[in-house]
C-alpha cells in the first residue's frame, strides 16, 4: 500500500515513509493470521489466507455486491456532505439560525436505525433510496460539526477586511471562511468515507435485494466465516482507499498553513450558538417537535407505526400503562448508560491518544493508520462476535464496541487538530529545540482543542447510536434491544418514546460537552464562540 497516510499538509511532522506503512500492513496481517489460528475452532475469525481464497472464489459475486453498495454509499456520501455544507453555510450566513440548525441536525442524527429504517423503506419502496438516505444520515452530522469549527477558525483580521468593504457574513463565508474551513472539511470527509459505506451496508438491512450488507447477513447466518471476513476485508479496503484518496486530494488542495488566530475574547453577556443557553435548548425542542409533526403530516405515513409527539406524550403520561412504559424505558436506559459512558470516554481517550502518539512518533503512523481505519470500517455485525469472544459478553465487550465506534472520528479529528498548530508558534518552539513532547504540550494540544471538542460533541450521539446498535445486534439488553423488540412487536408507541428519550439524552450530553467546551475555548479559541 502506498500509504502516505497523514492526510494534512504539515511539513513539520514527517509523513510516514512507505516503508513504515508497509510494515504496518504486514504487522496487521501477521497479527490477524496469528489471532485467527488461535481462534480457529470458534468460528469467529478467518485467517488472511482463507479470506483471500474466499475473495478470489467469490470475486464476481463480491464485485457485483460492492458495485451496488459502493454506488449507494457514494451517493449517500455526496448527499450527506452536501447537506452538511449547505446547513453549515446557512448557519454561518444567518447566525441566529445556528442553534436551531445544529439542534435539529443533532436530533435527526440521533434517530436510531431501528426506527428510521422501516420508515424509509415504506417511504421509498424497494429501490436503493433507503440505503442512500441512511448513508447520508450516517455522515452529514460529523461533517457539519467539523465544518462549523472550520468555518470559525478564522483570524478576525480577515473578517475585518471583508467588513471594511461593507460585505456581510455571506461574502465572508465565500471569500474567507469557506477556504479557511477546508482542512476541517477534509477531516470531516475522511471520517465520512467509511461511515457512508457502512451506512449503505446497514441500509440494506431494511430489505434490499443485493449488496455487501445482504451478503454479510447471509454469510453470518450460514456460519460462513471466510466469506464474512472476506466481506469485511473488502469493506475495509474500500474505506481505506476512500480515506487515502481524500487525503491525497486534501494535500493538493490545501496550500495555506494554519494561521495564528488572534481573536479578542467575546464580550460578557454574549449568548451565542450551540447549546449554551437554556433558551436555545427550549427553542430547539419546540422546533424539533414542530418538525416532527410536520414531517408526519407531509409524508402521510400510517399512524400505526409513525407516531407523533402527541402519541408519545400520551404513551408516556396519559395512557393506562404509562407508568409501566416509563419504568421499562428507565431501566433500559439505565442499563444502556452503564455501557455508554465508559465506552464514550474510552473511545474519546483512545482516539485522542492515538492521534497524539502518531504525531509524537510519525514512524508509527504507517502502522497505526490501516488498523485504525480497519477498526472503523469492519461492520459491527462482523466484529461484535469477535470482540465478544475476546472480551466476553459482559460490560467490557460492549464498552469496547462503543469505544470502537467513537474512536475513529475522534482520532481523525484530533490528528487533524494537532496539525493546526501555526507555523510561527512552532518556529518559536524550534528555536529552543523544544522536543516533540514540549511542542505537543505547548503548541499542538492547544491548537487541537477546537477539533477535539468537535469530536467530543459529535461522539455523543455517535456513541448513543453505537450502544443501541450493539445492544440490538449483539448483547440484547438496554434501550437498543428494547427498541428492536418494540419494533418487532409493533409497539411503536414504546419505540418512539425510546427514540425521543435517546434523542433528548444525546442532546443533553451534547449540551454538557458544550458547556465544558465553552469554558476551555474561551481561552484557547475564542473565535469558536463568536
Amino acid at each position: 500500500m502506498t500509504v502516505a497516510t497523514l492526510a494534512f499538509i504539515d511539513k513539520r511532522s514527517l509523513r510516514p515513509g512507505r516503508g513504515s506503512a508497509l510494515l504496518g500492513a504486514v504487522l496487521l496481517v501477521l497479527g490477524w493470521e496469528v489471532l485467527a489460528r488461535m481462534l480457529a475452532d470458534a468460528f469467529v475469525l478467518a485467517a488472511p489466507s482463507e479470506v483471500l481464497t474466499a475473495i478470489v472464489e467469490n470475486r464476481t459475486l463480491l464485485m457485483r455486491a460492492l458495485a451496488v453498495t459502493l454506488a449507494n454509499g457514494a451517493a449517500g456520501f455526496a448527499l450527506g456532505n452536501l447537506a452538511a455544507i449547505a446547513l453549515a453555510g446557512i448557519a454561518l450566513a444567518f447566525p441566529r439560525s445556528q442553534s436551531i440548525i445544529t439542534g435539529l441536525a443533532l436530533t435527526v442524527f440521533c434517530l436510531p436505525l431501528v426506527a428510521t429504517g422501516p420508515i424509509l423503506r415504506v417511504l421509498f419502496g424497494p429501490g436503493p433510496w433507503p440505503q442512500i438516505v441512511l448513508a447520508a444520515l450516517a455522515v452529514y452530522y460529523t461533517t457539519l460539526v467539523l465544518l462549523l469549527v472550520g468555518l470559525r477558525a478564522t483570524p478576525s483580521s480577515w473578517i475585518d477586511l471583508m467588513r471594511s468593504y461593507g460585505r456581510g457574513s455571506f461574502s465572508t463565508l465565500v471569500h474567507v471562511r469557506a477556504m479557511a474551513s477546508l482542512p476541517y472539511l477534509f477531516a470531516g470527509l475522511q471520517i465520512a468515507a467509511p461511515a457512508a459505506f457502512l451506512g449503505a451496508m446497514v441500509g440494506e438491512f431494511t430489505g434490499a435485494e443485493r449488496g455487501m450488507g445482504v451478503l454479510t447477513i447471509r454469510a453470518m447466518r450460514d456460519l460462513d466465516v471466510d466469506m464474512t471476513w472476506a466481506l469485511a476485508t473488502v469493506a475495509t479496503a474500500v474505506a481505506i482507499a476512500a480515506y487515502l484518496a481524500i487525503g491525497w486530494v486534501a494535500r493538493r488542495v490545501l496550500v495555506a498553513d494554519p494561521p495564528v488566530i488572534l481573536s479578542p475574547p467575546r464580550p460578557p453577556g454574549w449568548r451565542g450558538g450551540g447549546w449554551h443557553a437554556p433558551i436555545n435548548v427550549a427553542v430547539v425542542a419546540v422546533a424539533a417537535v414542530i418538525a416532527w409533526w410536520a414531517a408526519l403530516a407531509l409524508s402521510g405515513l400510517n399512524p400505526f407505526f409513525a407516531k407523533g409527539p402527541d402519541d408519545v406524550f400520551h404513551a408516556l403520561f396519559l395512557a393506562d400503562n404509562a407508568g409501566r412504559t416509563r419504568a421499562m424505558l428507565a431501566s433500559a436506559m439505565w442499563e444502556t448508560a452503564a455501557f455508554l459512558l465508559p465506552g464514550y470516554l474510552a473511545g474519546l481517550l483512545a482516539g485522542a491518544g492515538l492521534a497524539i502518539v502518531v504525531v509524537l512518533f510519525p514512524m508509527l503512523a504507517g502502522a497505526a493508520m490501516p488498523a485504525a481505519i480497519a477498526l472503523r470500517s469492519v461492520p459491527i455485525v462482523t466484529t461484535a462476535p469477535l470482540v465478544v469472544l475476546i472480551l466476553g459478553r459482559g460490560a467490557i465487550g460492549t464498552i469496547a464496541l462503543v469505544a470502537l465506534m467513537v474512536f475513529f472520528p475522534t482520532f481523525v479529528a484530533c490528528l487533524h487538530g494537532l496539525r493546526q498548530a501555526p507555523g510561527q508558534v512552532l518556529d518559536v518552539m524550534d528555536s529552543y529545540a523544544a522536543g516533540p513532547f514540549q511542542r505537543l504540550l505547548r503548541a499542538r494540544l492547544p491548537a487541537m482543542l477546537p477539533a477535539f471538542f468537535a469530536a467530543a460533541r459529535m461522539a455523543v450521539p455517535a456513541s448513543v447510536l453505537a450502544v443501541t446498535v450493539v445492544e440490538w445486534l449483539a448483547t440484547g439488553n438496554g434501550v437498543g434491544s428494547l427498541m428492536a423488540l418494540s419494533a418487532s412487536l409493533s409497539d411503536y408507541n414504546m419505540l418512539w418514546s425510546a427514540v425521543v428519550l435517546v434523542a433528548a439524552l444525546s442532546a443533553l450530553g451534547y449540551g454538557g460537552v458544550g458547556l465544558v467546551e465553552a469554558r476551555v475555548l474561551r481561552i484557547y479559541a475564542p473565535e469558536q464562540l463568536a
Binding site: 483570524p155 471594511s164 498553513d257 460578557p268
Partner: protein, 266 residues
C-alpha cells in the same frame, strides 16, 4: 445621499470614545474633523489607541460613546459603497491567494471591475514585480505589507485609512513609496488618514498632523503642515519642515513625559 457625492468626504469624530470590554480605555472622548481630500497623519506612542481610532472610523469597532460620520453618514454607508479601504497594521492577506489574487479580491468586494493592467501597475509600484503570483507565505514581511498597501489602493476609495503602512519596509524603499503612492490618492482627492510612527513621514506626507497622548488617546496637538505639493525628498531639509518635525516631537515628548510623571506620581 450625501450632499455632494463627488466631493471627498469629511470624516467627523464627535465625542468618540472606546473602552474595551476588559476595561481598557483606548480612546477618551475625542472630537476631530478630518477634512475631505486632505491627508491627515496621526502619531502617538505605541499602544495609545491609534489603531483603535482608525478601526472606529472604519466602522469596525463600535464606539463606547460618540459617533463617527463620513460625509455626514455613518461609516457603514461608505463601506457599503466600497469607498473605504484600510491597510491594516498587520497585512491580513488571505494566505491561499496570490498577491494578485489578494489585490483583485478588494476589487471584487468593492464591486469594481477587475482591470488587470491597473493591478499590474500597482504591483510594480509597490515593488512586487515578479511576485504577483506568489502567495503570502513566500513573501518577506515588507513584501506582505506592500501587497496590503496595493490592495488598499486598488479600489481608489474616497476614504483611505493607512495603519503604519511602511513599518516593515526599509528606509530607502519607504522613501520611494512615500514618493510614489501619495500621487495616487492626491490625484483622486482621497481623504486619507495615515497612522505612522515616523514623525518625518507624518510631516512629509500630510496636510495636518494630529498628535495623540498615551493611552487613552486624546488629541494633544493638531498642526497644519503648509508645504507645497507635490512633496519632494529635498523638502525634508527645509526649515519649515524641520520646524514641524520638531514641533511634533515636542508635543509627543511632552505628552509622554506627562504620562510618565503621572505614573510615577501614582
Amino acid at each position: 445621499m450625501r450632499a455632494d457625492a463627488d466631493m471627498p468626504p469629511d470624516v467627523l469624530c464627535d465625542g468618540l470614545a472606546k473602552t474595551f470590554d476588559g476595561g481598557v480605555e483606548a480612546v477618551r472622548p475625542l472630537s476631530v474633523r478630518f477634512e475631505g481630500g486632505h491627508t491627515t497623519a496621526v502619531v502617538g506612542p505605541s499602544g495609545c489607541g491609534k489603531s483603535t481610532l482608525l478601526r472606529l472610523i472604519a466602522g469596525l469597532e463600535r464606539p463606547s460613546a460618540g459617533r463617527v460620520e463620513i460625509g455626514g453618514l455613518p461609516p457603514a454607508e461608505t463601506q457599503r459603497r466600497g469607498e473605504l479601504a484600510v491597510a491594516f497594521q498587520d497585512p491580513s492577506l488571505l494566505p491561499w491567494r496570490s498577491v494578485r489574487g489578494n489585490i483583485e479580491l478588494a476589487l471584487h468586494l468593492a464591486r469594481r471591475p477587475v482591470a488587470a493592467a491597473h493591478v499590474e501597475h500597482l504591483v510594480r509600484l509597490v515593488g512586487l514585480e515578479g511576485f504577483a503570483d506568489t502567495r503570502p507565505a513566500e513573501l518577506s514581511g515588507g513584501m506582505r505589507q506592500r501587497a496590503a498597501i496595493a490592495r488598499a489602493l486598488v479600489t481608489e476609495p474616497e476614504l483611505l485609512l493607512l495603519d503604519e503602512p511602511f513599518a516593515a519596509v526599509d528606509e530607502l524603499t519607504r522613501q520611494q513609496l512615500a514618493q510614489d503612492l501619495p500621487r495616487i490618492w492626491e490625484a483622486r482627492g482621497t481623504t486619507t488618514i495615515l497612522v505612522t510612527h515616523s514623525v518625518n513621514e507624518a510631516v512629509m506626507l500630510s496636510d495636518r498632523v494630529i498628535v495623540l497622548s498615551p493611552r487613552p488617546a486624546t488629541v494633544v496637538a493638531d498642526m497644519a503642515i503648509d508645504l507645497p505639493r507635490p512633496r519632494e525628498p529635498e523638502m525634508s531639509r527645509w526649515p519649515e519642515f524641520m520646524a514641524s518635525v520638531d514641533a511634533v516631537f515636542a508635543a509627543l515628548s511632552a505628552s509622554m513625559a506627562r504620562n510618565s510623571l503621572a505614573i510615577a506620581a501614582q
